[in-house]
Assembly symmetry: C2
Homo-oligomer: 522 residues x 2
């Protein structure tokens, strides 16, 4: 099957040209090979709307990538670049535009530089968190890597999707510094200080000279990132946790207000999160009655009868022991004034840590150790999951609204959804990520999942809340909620796309950005 709008003849010619450039063994067209690029967690699995791939190609180096885009321009081949393709819950390696040719960058897996002194790495797209972690450990470098859960994904790919972790460097796009980008015309751009030949500050200073461009190449389709700098954390002396529990529903307002002040003041500089043992708990008939209009006193009585705190908040501190202890103590002092508060210490971890300790330790992600331990409740063998992920204001009122509103929507849908915590992955906002199950063979179940997902996108938009990251199958729906000024953002994206990729060969449709010939409203 050739890509949409491409003749069989042109497609064959393009494949031959790719084979000449890359070697025939790196051009994949057999049904078996191509099936590997299906989204393992597709909510359209087996249906006509499932995104499929016409072929895949795997270059080894930047010059080959440049030649590939030149060929793609010649034959108007839609390419879909992936780093390692482990974007599960958000579409995996499958393209937005069905029939695209996957440009698989997994062979470009070189760790080009790691500076212990200045705590950064420069990597290629095929470098996974496991790869970079191993590189650091093998050399005994005293550096911590912020890792997502799970750790098999690409360092570049994750940052470009605005992925997150738990440590002070948890905002992976925020920790990216300096990119090399193959443009759609085959040009090679280095952003930031990389635009100065052999600049020693490429991985140290982000803004560069003139407009800061790195943002253009994340959650988009305006170029192919072939190198990226990522900041690392000097290995901390200790990592120490804290849990704060509060008894009453309305305590969430003070809980979040204090949290926010602590974060904005730099006392807390890593992830913290809020869960409700009540609202995240089992929904019995009494719960359902309260959920349709119970007042705070009734909710509090409900929690008391069940022996549940209404809120649990967890913090983690990284750094020298005395500084960590001072921060820990300050957080406790701030919350100690609240009536009924309870504190629980969490394990304190100390560095350096031996290889054996690293193997044995439980909280791997907190400690920057990549693993596959946290696959969540909707695991691969059940068909997987897709995530509903929104940005929520940093206020208790919003937290409560989110848990009540989406909790009710999830319950009413009849879909077995894993409602997430509200987590601070970014300096000043909360993120709320819930997992919706996907089935391998039950199309009706997948239809219910899609329905509740879209219903929740709409509920969020009514509150002015948007998606932080979105599944490839729902990018247009999510983009449509960003409609200020009659779609000014989409029009601006379109203008950029036309300017830097006039033939629209790169990742058509990604984050709602379509080339002119595929736009509804060109």
């Amino acid at each position: 099957m050739s890509p949409p709008g491409v003749s069989e003849q042109d497609f064959s010619a393009a494949l031959r040209a790719f084979a000449t450039t890359l070697g025939a063994e790196w051009v994949f067209t057999s049904a078996t090979d191509v099936a590997l690029y299906r989204d393992a967690y597709s909510p359209f699995r087996g249906e006509t709307d499932e995104r499929v791939v016409s072929a895949a190609i795997a270059p080894d180096n930047v010059e080959q990538v440049r030649e590939v885009v030149r060929i793609a321009n010649r034959y108007r081949i839609p390419l879909y670049p992936i780093s390692t393709g482990k974007n599960l819950a958000y579409g995996g390696s499958a393209p937005v535009l069905s029939g695209s040719v996957v440009l698989d960058l997994k062979r470009m897996n070189r760790v080009l530089e790691v500076s212990e002194r200045n705590a950064y790495a420069l990597v290629e797209p095929g470098v996974s968190y496991f790869d970079l972690y191993r590189h650091i450990q093998e050399r005994g470098l005293r550096l911590m890597l912020d890792v997502p859960s799970p750790g098999w994904g690409s360092v570049i790919g994750n940052a470009l999707e605005h992925g997150v972790g738990l440590s002070p460097l948890r905002d992976h796009f925020g920790a990216a510094c300096g990119m090399e980008v193959v443009l759609a015309d085959g040009g090679l751009l280095r952003t930031g200080m990389g635009a100065i030949d052999a600049s020693p500050t490429w991985q140290q200073y982000k803004h560069g000279f003139g407009p800061y461009l790195d943002g253009l190449f994340a959650q988009s389709n305006l170029g192919i990132v072939t190198k990226m700098g990522i900041w690392l954390l000097p290995e901390p002396e200790v990592v120490r946790g804290l849990r704060v529990s509060l008894p009453r529903m309305n305590d969430v307002v003070a809980l979040v207000d204090i949290m926010a002040q602590l974060a904005y003041s730099g006392v807390v500089d890593s992830q913290f999160q809020i869960r409700s043992p009540v609202l995240h708990g089992a929904r019995d008939p009494e719960f359902e009655t309260l959920a349709t209009g119970g007042n705070a006193d009734q909710w509090d009585a409900y929690a008391r009868r069940r022996g549940l705190a209404f809120w649990d908040a967890t913090f983690t501190f990284y750094g020298p022991e005395h500084v960590v202890d001072a921060r820990w103590t300050h957080v406790v002092e701030r919350y100690a004034k609240l009536d009924g508060v309870r504190f629980a210490d969490a394990p304190t971890y100390r560095f350096p840590m031996s290889g054996e300790q690293r193997e044995r330790v439980q909280d791997k992600q907190l400690l920057g150790i990549p693993s596959l331990q946290d696959f969540g409740r909707a695991a691969v063998d059940t068909g997987g999951h897709m995530d509903f992920s929104i940005v929520v204001p940093m206020t208790g009122e919003a937290v409560l609204d989110a848990l009540v509103t989406f909790g009710r929507a999830f319950a009413q849908s009849g879909v077995d959804i894993g409602m997430g915590a509200l987590t601070c992955f970014h300096p000043r906002a909360l993120t709320f990520i819930s997992s919706l199950p996907v089935s391998r063979d039950d199309r009706e179940a997948n239809q219910r999942t899609r329905d509740v997902y879209l219903h929740c996108v709409a509920l969020a938009a009514q509150r002015g809340w948007g998606q932080y990251r979105v599944h490839a199958a729902f990018m247009d729906a999510a983009a449509a909620t960003y409609g200020f000024g009659g779609g000014a953002l989409t029009r601006f994206h379109g203008a950029l796309k036309d300017a830097v990729d006039p033939n629209g060969i790169l990742a058509a449709g990604r984050y709602g950005i379509w080339p002119r010939h595929l736009r509804r409203d060109p």
Copy 2:
């Protein structure tokens, strides 16, 4: 005088249309009025290369700005948007393209929102640091504003120029969150979460959905920012300083390595700086001999004989007292291992602070109090100064190289240059800002200043070091050092410019970005 490429007739028609839109009193064409927009510190003062203005217009609101750009497109009028125009040392309010019409946004000076709870402000371009500070103080809000020196500039303008201050929010572009932008075609864009109507997270979450765009509108000419969010700091309990002195030249390596680890670990999260009482001191004949090849022992002996520490480093800590003290103590412990180190405490300031205390206090900028106290040694009445401002790697070797190399170049030039400290204004790099004097009437002196400036740009580029911010008169020269890939960055900028401003009406030449009809190499 009409703008370049615009007929007298079209210029008159455009001015009439501007007057119809804005009211005639907001269209300035008299020689006296227009002279106010000259760069008060121009290094070309009175020469043919001095950038001058053909007229100025001052809209009151966003809709007027949109109408102005529509008129400018109709008559191809080059506009030069300024916020308050106080970009002194970098070109003031004078355009890059002589004969442009200044679009002066000073009347748009509304503080649209200040959230104490979530520590941000939403402002218009005409809001100065003084304005926002007054707004906060009058309402008794417990917020600290990060201010540049001096404080009369625009909050938006400073952030868009990548300006800096001293507190944890010292990177002003880094502290910007969410923009409203009038595009060159009159379209109105809101970036980030602002693209969702009435989103409560516009000033809380930067990345938005799809490509992060705010970077495009800083140090550039791709749109006119009419609103911007800026993050504020909750008023800290205390602000406490520390000075670390080290005796020997080569101590700088350990000095910076420890500094870097402290910063990357979050122990130090505000500005710190390095000066050398020796290398920043008087240059006697013995100094000059050493400067042409003295070894470290000879330098150390020189410093000893004069009773000078070779290095002084200063730190500041913001936050709750116990946390600040723990950080302070940790920094002292880290440096205490170095032979010959000495420590000096700096005053500790406590908040809340009365209005009277705020008036009296010395370290105003450190405490977020805007002032005009720090105008530097080259003051207005001598003709002013222009700044040479580069990004330097975070290593002792680079610090030493910078001070020796530029110290020699400055001395050899015969120009009385104020060599700056190396300051950490950004998370992981040092900035080195030196002031070159500008004369009101001595053209030969200005020629020497320009010569040494360009010589230093070249010396920096040889090391792979680039400008962090540049004077309007030298943007092309600075941009030329960012030449990777045969000028790939400049070409990419050009492609963006053509896409979003095809008639090239906005700030032609800013940061080396020219519209197609004015490019040397279109």
